[in-house]
Amino acid sequence: MIRFILLQNRQGKTRLAKYYVPLEESEKHKVEYEVHRLVVNRDPKFTNFVEFRTHKVIYRRYAGLFFSMCVDITDNELAYLECIHLFVEILDHFFSNVCELDLVFNFHKVYLILDEFILAGEIQETSKKAIIERMGELEKQE
């Protein structure tokens, strides 16, 4: 199960944070700080997995943005690594050539996309097309 998803830039600014387990506000800040510190200086050749407390963080860097996902210790690391990539592909498709600024200015859209992709800590939909279609319907309502 996914515990939380973080999007952070290299300076450690949180671009998006979604928690699927209840955490105290102060605890969330601590987690964000620690995860950033864990991933930011890792050699790109290293594994994309870091042990984090009793879980592990799977992260992937896209330009200046780190996508981090905290999952159970028994989960398939590679699968979640690809899950991050699928999410990025969806964002890329939705924003057509996504860049950090898209996510900054439209963070609420990113949340909505994420809600279509992952629900209650589990991947609910893996079809890129289905998600994009759903978002299109929502956009029409605006």
């Binding site: 398939n76 699968a79 990539h85 200015f105 809600d115």
Partner: protein, 925 residues
């Protein structure tokens, strides 16, 4: 689609985001956000804010919260927004509340109604929005409010709704399994849904359910296999493909489920073999997602009933992983290798080099994973290399939690596979040196126990070799100035127990070393306590061996220093050591037997061994025990006692009697003190008469009485008043000459005189006439012995309790809540029950001490005292009443009359401890 400002956000909002993006420092960012929040707080409260504007305000609040600021003033507005009929606003409202509100937030109850309404909506987008909120916000309490609605949605025409309904039910199951158990069959239905998305979502709850109970879902195995086959054969819509792989995420989930269902089930596994083989064959490890699926296949293969062909394929895939340049793949390879070696251990050999490479890799994640693998594949042949490597690695770990784990792993491996004793000891030394105080206390206690018990059960030679190599290495290592406290404790203990055993080191040499330890660690009371106890043991062994003990000047000054220590525990140990030095060799030998740390001590709580004695006494004319309740003319004390008893059984409605208890409480201490201090002179004669061994006893008593004297002498006066009060109850009613009645009378005085009476009993049977002739003299004689025995008891106590702590591997700090400082806890490291065992020991040794007595059993009865005493000790806060009743029930037989009386007497005298704990501790150790 343009990215910036494309969705009708106002310029204000864009400016805000921009200025945050350009902020140079965290402080600047905070300033901007705080200003923004201030403005929002004002504007949001204005009347008639346009809805569209409000939506943007809420979005800004979300932004502020995301950056770590508190926007709780706006939560209620977000809740209001969920009521809105326009979908975009409603969605924004739901998004905001799911991000804002924690599960136990008060506002959630306001949303439940809206959610209920929205779940019934005709617009499926509204339903979806509501279901997303359900997953986050509905808690155990509110599940019943929405559950029927969510279940209805499982049959919704839109697949998006069905999928979300499945996820919502899964969430309910996670939060409160009981609330949805009757709905679990629904998951079987949705598994057959036409839409692959719904089917894929259903796998999540099913995985959880099967993890919890695989057997109930064995029937689904065939369905899962069929689905897996269809997915692998690309029968799913192309939109589910990812990097040319057909629906890989669904595949992975299915493989996980199959691994569970096939685990240890040969028949089920046979269904899986084929499709697994197909998938592996199709997996061209060209992209990550292929490898992810391949990895999951290997996991599945290692989990289900083994199949040679598949294992071969798995081994091949693993070696591909390991040979890859990618760290990620190497990591996966190490992981799968760890799984496969459980089934076929020789697989690891061909990958040795790859594993070693990973071990030396700078990537810490990979390293850790590799150490985990090494831990799994440790055998007696490779333990040395692995543990050495692990310790080297441990030295550089900063994470304390992980370091502790690694340290205990090393210890575990060393214990399990150690090739030689020497290696074992050296490994443990390294672990302690580098792990420092992070090493679990348990590990230290385990080590002490191992050294004491030895590895091999029948080879005594190997054990003593182990001990001497331990001693050797500890002597060497003691030069190191920075040893962790825990390690020093182990060293002190081992040196004390075994330092002089093989004769390699002289007693004074070891004692000198131990003195150095205490000097180097002035602030560590625990280490000091261990050291002084070790010195005491060495002295005891020397004395017992008939050699003369030379106390070095530094040792002398240590004893001197500790006897004035702030820690009562250290004081006590110092005094005990001094007392021990004055004893003769046979006594010492029985008090501190050589290498007795592992001996099991047993206590006969029923006192059955007294039966003969009582029978004999009765035959000789003493009256049998009459239960208190049947006794006529009870004195005030027994009345009090009875009151207490009564109160423990039923409610009392009358007022408590005020004055009675207090005198009863005071007296016991008194009688103790007098018996020790006043009676000393009389002692010598009578004591010598009975047992000729303890030649130096008087001096011990002197020490003890000096120890106690100051407080107690005063009370001596009271005893004279107290005595008759008590003796009137038992003694007056029974004949005064025989042993039993005597005990009866005396016991009433106090717990401590009880010891006397016990001793009396033994002597009574030994030399009855003498006893009959002079009751007082006899008892005084005993009293002296009691004094010495308490001393021995305490000595034995410390020694034994230490051993106890070791053997039970109980963390001393967690034990008793007594007023004593931590080192003291070390002594009494267990609750009443376990302590009773060690405390009983010294008294057993008394048998030897008293020597002449034919009734060994009776002496043991004395030993029995201590456990109860300890029980009292710990029970003090809860009052003595309860204890009394339990003890009474523990001693049911009429024949044990004297004991029962003693018990009560003790109970009476226990109360003072609450008032004057120090005194009591001095007395009892």
């Amino acid at each position: 689609m343009s990215s910036q400002g494309g969705w009708g956000q106002s310029k204000d909002f864009l400016d805000l985001v921009k200025s945050i993006g350009e902020a140079r420092s965290k402080a600047e960012e905070d300033r901007i956000i705080l200003r923004e929040l201030e403005a929002l707080r004002r504007r949001i409260a204005e009347p008639d804010v346009p809805r569209r504007r409000m939506k943007e305000y809420i979005t800004r609040l979300v932004y502020a919260e995301m950056l770590g600021h508190d926007a709780s003033f706006g939560y209620i507005h977000a809740v209001k927004m969920t009521h809105d009929n326009a979908l975009p606003l409603k969605r924004t409202g739901y998004l905001a509340v799911t991000l804002f509100l924690s599960e136990d937030h008060d506002l959630i109850i306001l949303i439940v109604n809206t959610i209920q309404k929205d779940l019934r909506s005709d617009n499926y987008l509204v339903v979806c929005a509501a279901l997303t909120a359900v997953c986050k916000l509905i808690t155990e309490d509110t599940i019943p409010a929405v559950l029927p609605l969510v279940v209805d949605l499982l049959a919704h025409r839109k697949e998006a709704v069905r999928k979300k309904a499945v996820m919502a039910l899964h969430r309910f199951y996670q939060r409160s399994p009981a609330s949805v158990t009757h709905l679990l069959p629904n998951f079987r239905k949705t598994l057959c849904d036409n839409d692959p998305g719904v089917m894929g979502a259903t796998l999540c709850p099913l995985f959880d359910l099967i993890t919890a109970d695989a057997n109930s879902y064995k029937d689904l195995l065939v369905s899962f296999v069929r689905i897996l086959k269809q997915v692998a054969e690309r029968n799913l819509p192309k939109t589910y493909d990812y990097h040319q792989m057909p629906a890989p995420f669904i595949l992975i989930k299915l493989l996980k489920i199959l691994a569970l269902l096939g685990s240890g089930d040969k028949q089920a596994s046979e269904h899986i073999y084929n499709v697994l083989g197909d998938i592996i064959r199709k997996c061209e490890p060209s992209s990550n997602i292929y490898n992810a699926v391949l990895y999951e296949c290997i996991c599945c293969i290692s989990s289900i009933y083994p199949n040679a062909k598949l294992l071969e394929a798995a081994a091949e895939a693993t070696s591909k992983f390991l040979k890859s340049d990618s760290h990620n793949l190497k990591y996966m390879g190490i992981d799968t290798l760890g799984r496969l070696i459980k089934i076929s251990p020789d697989i690891a050999e061909e990958h040795q080099l790859a594993v070693i490479d990973c071990l030396e890799d700078p990537d810490d994640t990979l390293k850790r994973k590799t150490f985990e693998l090494l831990y799994k594949m440790t055998k007696s042949t490779n333990v040395e290399v692995i543990v050495d490597h692990t310790i080297d690695y441990m030295i550089n770990i900063n994470d304390n939690h992980y370091k502790t784990e690694i340290a205990s792993r090393c210890v575990e491996l060393a214990e399990q596979f150690a090739p030689t004793n020497q290696w074992f000891i050296q490994t443990m030394n390294k672990v302690f040196e580098h792990g420092g105080d992070l090493v679990n206390v348990r590990v230290a206690h385990n080590l002490m126990r191992l050294i004491a018990q030895g590895f091999s059960e029948d080879e005594e030679g190997a054990d003593s070799q182990l001990r001497s190599s331990a001693v050797d290495s500890y002597i060497c290592i003691l030069g190191d100035p920075k040893l962790p406290s825990l390690f020093l404790q182990v060293i002190c203990w081992v040196l004390g127990e075994y330092g002089t055993v093989d004769g390699k080191y002289s007693a004074s040499y070891i004692m000198g070393k131990l003195c150095d330890v205490t000097e180097a660690h002035l602030c560590d009371d625990t280490v000091k306590a261990y050291a002084i106890s070790a010195i005491m043991k060495i002295c005891a062994f020397e004395i017992a061996a008939g050699r003369k003990v030379e106390i070095l000047p530094e040792c002398q000054s240590l004893i001197h220093e500790l006897s004035a220590s702030h820690s009562t525990d250290l004081q006590q140990r110092a005094y005990e050591l001094q007392a021990l030095l004055c004893l003769d060799c046979r006594t010492v030998e029985s008090v501190m037997p050589l290498d007795a740390s592992c001996e099991v001590l047993e206590v006969d709580k029923n006192l059955s061994f007294l039966n003969d004695f009582i029978q004999e006494s009765i035959e000789k004319g003493s009256s049998p025990y009459i239960p208190e309740s049947e006794r006529p003319g009870m004195s005030s004390v027994s009345n009090f006692r009875r009151q207490n008893e009564a109160s423990s059984h039923m409610l009392r409605f009358e007022a408590y009697g005020l004055p009675k208890p207090s005198p009863a409480h005071l007296i016991p201490q008194v009688s103790v003190s007098t018996s020790t201090s006043n009676l000393v002179p009389v002692t010598e004669a009578s004591y010598y008469r009975e047992s000729s061994q303890a030649s130096k006893v008087p001096s011990v008593t002197d020490a003890s009485s000096a120890d106690l004297g100051t407080k107690l002498r005063l009370d001596g006066v009271q005893r004279k008043w107290g005595w008759p009060t008590y003796s009137s109850s038992g003694q007056s009613s029974t004949s005064s000459t025989n042993g039993v009645s005597h005990v009866d009378g005396v016991s009433a005085q106090s717990r401590d005189t009880l010891y006397d009476s016990r001793r009396q009993q033994s002597e009574v049977s030994a030399e009855k006439q003498k006893l009959a002739a002079s009751l007082f003299g006899a008892s005084s004689g005993k009293t002296v012995k009691r004094a010495t025995s308490t001393h021995r008891a305490t000595k034995g106590n410390t020694g034994n309790a230490e051993r106890m702590a070791v053997s039970t591997a109980i963390n001393p700090e967690t034990s008793t809540e007594k007023a004593a400082p931590p080192p003291d806890l070390l002594d009494l490291s267990d609750d009443a029950a376990p302590t009773s065992t060690p405390t009983a020991d010294p008294f057993q040794h008394l048998q030897v001490l008293i020597g002449a007595t034919p009734v060994d059993n009776t002496v043991k009865a004395v030993g029995l005292e201590s456990p109860n005493l300890m029980a009292f000790y710990t029970d003090i806060p809860s009052g003595s009443r309860k204890t009394t009743s339990t003890i009474h029930s523990a001693v049911p037989s009429i024949k044990k009359a004297p004991l029962q009386n003693d018990e009560t007497a003790r109970r009476v005298c226990v109360n003072p401890t609450g008032n004057n704990p120090n005194l009591f501790r001095d007395l009892l150790g």
